[in-house]
Symmetry: C2
Subunit: 120 residues, 2 copies
DNA sequence: GTAGGATCTGACACCGGTGTCAGATTCAAC
DNA sequence: GTTGAATCTGACACCGGTGTCAGATCCTAC
């Protein structure tokens, strides 16, 4: 599919998609004229990439991680090396702490919002 | 307490603490020589601020939110206006989606890590 | 008083994903 | 062919919390 459709279906800007392509996080065939042609499976991959960005992983580590995922439509997954697993473990723990932070912050907001609702 | 001790106890850099002070997120007395002197309650407040930053709130909204919290050692909490509550609701929902993203990302990492452990 | 550590202010830079623009080229429909 | 929409590349800028440095001043213990 073309980049426009991919952008629509993933709610990610064409700018970002071209950036992902340049980094090698997604791959596209090219038409004779040079336009990108993405396979269907790229939709899921882009969404996954966005989630990982949101989780604070940098593009480099995402690039390491992606080959180890077995997403439908992608080739067979590689197995992470022990070195990569170690890196990912650090990220995993960071994400875990982050989830804790977010839960606490969500609770704080809920309290303030509920209080406002009760009064006004 | 002095900024050095506050930095040690919160694991937040002096640079950031001065920044929070400048923004009015935390408040300090000043010694006759101009050095900041923070009350004990600032420790908890700084940690809270860090959590809210981690949750993606900008300093401006944190500044709106903080007066509505009743933290030990701080003065009586204000009640959020309906306008503020609306703003916070948007943030709250964003955080909620973010938590979902993070849980998915954590699961992805766990899978890859476990697979690597199993093989090597 | 004095030395050495702590703190002060101000300024500059970074990070890295994203927005946006310009100008050229391609695609698809008529 | 032609035309309008879509896509291409490349470049510049932003954001906003944080790191870091310089030079001056303060504080505390001797």
């Amino acid at each position: 599919m073309r980049i426009g459709e991919l952008a629509r279906r993933t709610a990610v800007s064409e700018r970002s998609l071209r950036y992902y392509d340049k980094l090698g996080l997604i791959a596209a065939e090219r038409t004779s004229g040079g336009h990108r042609d993405f396979p269907e499976s790229t939709v899921g991959r882009v969404i996954r990439i966005q989630e990982l960005f949101a989780a604070g992983l940098c593009s480099e580590k995402i690039g390491w991680l992606l080959p180890c995922l077995n997403d439908p439509g992608e080739g067979p997954a590689e197995t992470a090396t022990p070195e990569l697993a170690e890196v990912l473990q650090v990220e995993r723990d960071r994400i875990d702490r982050m989830i804790g932070d977010l839960l606490r912050s969500r609770d704080v907001l809920d309290e303030v919002i509920d209080e406002a609702r009760a009064v006004h």
